[in-house]
């Protein structure tokens, strides 16, 4: 006990926060996997997983056990270091953005005054993981996936940043907590609808979800960058993808949907998390629905869309925002 009391309280706080967040990441992946399959099932007029547990609720747990139990296959002729590094790179950086996200007024691991920039920089490491995995696999299909991921990520980072900037101009801060605080009266989605739409579209593209799932594109590239991965390597990519989705949705909630704000609850400074999660999972539901509705866009169309539509529109949006605020 004495050792603990000698440690700085901030460190203990961070360690606890990281532990909670890592366990939440796994929980979230299991929930999202289940939701995804259930929604996909019902959209296609079939029940989805039904066998393991009541209504298949334990299906993802069983799948997880299976994936952990599988052999970590490393094919010959791959770059062994990069091949192993890929999944780890994809999984580690996704923890960090969650540290600065204000789940509720008092539930935030650390409030950085440049929180938004921190999140953007951390989420863009994900593309590194895909590049490393695709390159290291020494497979032509994986290589295609990796190249696509890089181009796609560069193209979509810009509209994301520009749409965020519009909100930053309104709130006059980069700190996520203060951005949420600025939405006490009115959510930014009402003031910045265009920025919200641009952010959501780019967010879906940033997480490599259908209809922008070009790095995986199973009908073209079999499985894209993770073609060669099995077992835990494969599931780490999945964890990364679902956590990235969660991050994108929670940043959208913070920036546009008023974060923890909602009808007053007892212990509001903590229970605001309920509203936060409701909003986040609504957005995630929307992202899942999109995946099971649309065909995949082609690679050049995706880039065209980013450069011809999203970037000009978000620039115009910023310009108008700046002028209106100045007035």
């Amino acid at each position: 006990m004495e050792i603990i009391s000698t440690l700085p309280p901030e460190l203990i706080r961070m360690v606890f926060a990281v532990i909670i967040i890592i366990s939440f990441i796994f929980l979230n992946a299991i929930m999202m996997g289940y939701l995804e399959r259930k929604i996909a099932g019902h959209v296609q007029r079939r029940p989805g997983p039904m066998e393991v547990g009541s209504h298949g609720i334990l299906q993802l747990v069983v799948d997880g056990v299976k994936l952990v139990g599988k052999e970590l296959l490393v094919p010959v002729n791959v770059d062994r270091t990069l091949f192993r590094l890929g999944p780890i790179l994809s999984f580690t950086p996704v923890i960090l953005p969650l540290l600065v996200i204000p789940f509720s007024e008092k539930l935030q691991a650390r409030d950085l005054n440049l929180g938004l920039l921190f999140i953007v920089s951390m989420t863009s490491i994900n593309v590194m993981a895909i590049l490393v995995a695709g390159w290291g696999s020494n497979n032509k299909y994986s290589m295609f996936g990796a190249m696509r991921a890089v181009a796609q990520s560069i193209a979509y980072e810009i509209p994301i940043l520009l749409s965020m900037l519009a909100v930053v101009l309104m709130a006059n801060t980069f700190s996520l907590k203060e951005i949420v605080g600025a939405q006490q009266k009115i959510w930014f989605i009402l003031l910045q609808p265009l920025a919200f739409i641009i952010y959501i579209i780019s967010g879906v593209a940033e997480t490599n979800r259908a209809p922008f799932d070009l790095p995986e594109a199973e009908s073209e590239l079999t499985a894209g960058f993770h073609t060669e991965y099995s077992g835990m390597g494969f599931s780490l990519f999945f964890l990364g993808e679902y956590t990235n989705m969660f991050t994108v949705a929670s940043v959208a909630t913070v920036l546009f949907l008023g974060g923890w704000h909602g009808p007053t609850l007892p212990y509001g400074e903590y229970l605001g998390i309920v509203w936060f999660f409701l909003k986040v999972y609504f957005l995630l539901f929307f992202m899942i629905m999109i995946r099971w509705t649309y065909p995949r866009v082609r690679f050049d169309q995706l880039l065209n869309f980013a450069w011809k539509y999203l970037v000009p529109f978000s620039l115009v949006n910023i310009l108008i925002t700046a002028v209106v605020i100045k007035l």
């Binding site: 007029r45 629905m289 509705t293 649309y294």
Partner: protein
């Protein structure tokens, strides 16, 4: 320029329309059944593998071991043997096997049978671990039904 904006609006509307379709489907009842737990009734006209007809009057098969089905089968999957029994003029059926792994369910044997001694079974849940499990002894299957 016109194309630029029309693509945006028409395209955007089409995407919303598509989403409405899937959202509606999300709320509609399922059309599939949980197969091993529930089963759909199969039509009586279903053509499974062949079986010998159980003649209700004689309480045995009608087959006269003429071998027409054996000869007509395009895949040569039927094997028939008849033997002489004391006191009877004609041969009686002593062996009737079907190699279902080769059968293509064309129904020629059922149609060609002069005594209508063959019928299609209604079994479709067929799975086994070995090839030999599908070498059916049709005569034995009939004898089991007699009892």
């Amino acid at each position: 320029m016109k194309r630029y904006f029309s693509d945006l609006f028409v395209g955007g509307k089409s995407l919303v329309d598509g989403l409405v379709v899937t959202l509606k489907a999300l709320c509609q009842p399922m059309v599939t059944v949980q197969y091993p737990r529930e089963e759909i009734d199969i039509t009586p006209n279903f053509r499974g593998h062949i079986d010998l007809v159980l003649d209700p009057e004689k309480n045995t098969f009608r087959c006269i071991a003429c071998g027409m089905c054996e000869r007509s089968c395009p895949s040569e999957c039927i094997q028939i043997k008849g033997k002489k029994v004391e006191g009877k003029k004609k041969k009686t059926l002593s062996l009737f096997t079907l190699d279902f792994t080769k059968c293509s369910l064309c129904g020629t044997c059922v149609e060609i049978c002069p005594t209508q001694a063959l019928e299609f079974s209604n079994e479709y849940n067929l799975a086994a671990f070995s090839r030999e499990a599908f070498h059916y002894d049709i005569l034995k299957r009939l004898e089991e039904r007699i009892i």
